[in-house]
């Protein structure tokens, strides 16, 4: 074969996701209880599925407007205002995306110039740093402290700010730690952002899955709105991961630049998925509440079980993850996760794939039926005995 010119240096410099290896290990095994799954175990509420089937039968197979169905944008903006008191105009401050993943990519590409730094507090979702790099920026990891329940500490984060810093990118509630940021910590982050002229890029995909009161959006903090991007979606709250539909809300000038990228790349989120999302917002609120109540019961049982095994974790306030320390076993995250899978057939994700400070921890998802969680606890107990 004749030689090929080299591929993108930026992309080649980003390592493949550490999750992939565990996927390959676990996928071929029989009888595995997986606590490694980052999505709900509930199916999408039937009312939304039925609406999508009906929509397909009646021709919702076309593009929508680039911004997404106006009715869906209006529903999203009304919901954000009613639920959290943050206001966005459906016409030009809200864009329907193919999940938060696309929204994040649009945000970073609209915001960054080559060499701009984005502070990424970690442990965090695996895509944050790679997406910053793909957009030409430089991710700057800052380790959060498990002893402080992974709160966004403005002192640690402020210490990483340079003149190239453009934004801070974080998720609350968090994948993988399950921590939910308090209104006061978000206010401190907003103050930091104002004083250093930074953007806050706030991934709020788990907004409905909180267990100690209502979620606080970053843009609700004083002074934050005009420098915050709110990334949200339907995947977790409404159990709609495969539909690929989310939204991004931002001040109009930035939203318009995101819109420009979106119109040339994705064009629009899938039409039938937008119909399903709208129906979910209208009719599946009881389903959401039942799912959240169910997650909450599992969370209590599982966190207590881990605690009794000496695998301690700060009490997770949101999402469906716990991120226990496994240091008491003397193993690294990778050794623990590999050993647990091979010996006891329980799949967890080693913490270091979420950032270097995640080592010594593993991510366990409790989006799994209670009997399986109980069995998993027994197997973990046997493994560390």
């Amino acid at each position: 074969m004749p030689p090929l010119k080299p591929f993108s240096e930026i992309v080649r410099a980003v390592p493949p996701s550490g999750i992939r290896k565990f996927f390959d290990l676990a996928q071929g095994m029989q009888g595995v209880i997986s606590l490694g799954v980052g999505e709900p175990d509930f199916p999408t509420p039937w009312s939304a599925r039925e609406a999508a089937i009906h929509a397909l039968e009646h021709g919702a197979t076309t593009y929508t407007s680039n911004s997404g169905l106006l009715a869906l944008r209006e529903a999203v903006c009304t919901d954000l205002a009613d639920r959290y008191g943050v206001r966005y105009r459906a016409e030009d401050e809200c864009l329907i995306t193919s999940g938060v993943s696309e929204g994040l990519d649009l945000t970073l590409r609209a915001l960054l110039n080559p060499g701009d730094e984005v502070i990424v507090p970690e442990p965090c979702y695996v895509a944050y740093a790679p997406c910053v790099a793909f957009a030409g920026g430089t991710p700057v990891p800052v380790a959060l402290d498990p002893a402080e329940a992974y709160r966004l500490d403005p002192v640690r984060i402020g210490a990483a700010v340079t003149e190239r810093t453009k934004a801070v990118l974080f998720g609350s509630p968090s994948n993988p730690t399950g921590s939910a940021q308090s209104a006061s910590d978000l206010a401190a982050m907003a103050a930091l952002a104002v004083s250093h002229d930074l953007w806050l890029l706030s991934d709020e995909i788990y907004d409905r899955l909180t267990y100690h009161g209502t979620h606080t959006p970053a843009s609700a903090a004083p002074g934050a709105w005009e420098r915050t991007v709110l990334l949200g979606g339907f995947s977790k709250s409404y159990a709609m991961t495969g539909w690929r539909v989310g939204y991004v809300c931002a001040p109009e000038p930035l939203a318009q630049l995101m819109h420009r990228i979106h119109q040339y790349t994705m064009l629009c989120a899938p039409h039938m998925s937008q119909v399903a999302a709208l129906e979910a917002m209208r009719t599946a609120q009881d389903d959401v509440e039942e799912m959240v109540a169910d997650y909450d019961r599992r969370r209590r049982l599982f966190a207590k079980g881990l605690d009794e095994l000496g695998l301690t974790c700060p009490e997770p306030g949101g999402a469906f993850y716990v991120f226990p320390s496994i240091r008491s076993t003397g193993m690294t995250s990778q050794e623990f996760a590999e050993g647990l899978l091979e010996q006891e057939k329980v799949a967890v994700v080693p913490g270091d794939v979420f950032g270097p400070s995640g080592d010594g921890h593993v991510r366990c998802s409790y989006a799994t039926a209670l009997p399986q969680l109980e069995q998993a606890l027994e197997r973990i107990a046997r493994f560390i005995a």
């Binding site: 996927f23 799954v37 994700v349």
Partner: protein, 161 residues
């Protein structure tokens, strides 16, 4: 967290121990025990029930829904007749409904003949029962809020971000 959560847990698992309920709800064990006792006494908790799939066990049972037309009694409405019907062992449910008929009752028996005999000889012979319309149950799809069809397979990948 409200005490209501205790009922949510018990409704899906009547077998749940006080300790388990306390773990799942985050309430204190003593508080859970006390609240359950109070509800048992006041009748909020009627009884603890096991949902048995008799078909799967191998018992053949025949069920019919019977719409019953009743001539109501002056001053008592449908109550006397409804209570009289409800006392039969063969009757599983009795509801007063709107529409062309008055009572909708569920009859259970070991065979079609047994149910048919009950309707013909007992139910339709009750004073003030003027007509019956019997529908034999052919197949259950959802019962008591529980889907009886096979659960949807879990199509999630074993590990995902």
């Amino acid at each position: 967290m409200t005490m209501r959560e205790i009922l949510t847990v018990l409704e899906s698992d009547a077998h749940a121990s006080v300790e388990r309920i306390a773990t799942l709800t985050g309430l204190d064990e003593a508080a859970v025990r006390e609240q359950i006792a109070a509800w048992e006494a006041s009748g909020v908790i009627r009884r603890y029930k096991t949902v048995v799939d008799w078909d799967r066990f191998g018992d053949e049972r025949v069920t019919a829904f019977v719409d019953v037309t009743v001539a109501p009694e002056r001053g008592r409405g449908f109550d006397d007749v409804a209570e009289r019907i409800a006392r039969f062992r063969e009757i599983r449910n009795v509801h007063l409904v709107s529409g062309a008929q008055d009572l909708r009752v569920e009859v259970e028996g070991a065979s079609m003949k047994e149910v048919a005999d009950f309707v013909a000889q007992k139910l339709s012979g009750i004073d003030r029962v003027t007509a019956t319309d019997t529908h034999f149950l052919l197949r259950r799809y959802k019962d008591d809020g529980q889907l009886l069809t096979d659960p949807e397979p879990d199509q999630r990948l074993a590990v995902s971000p």
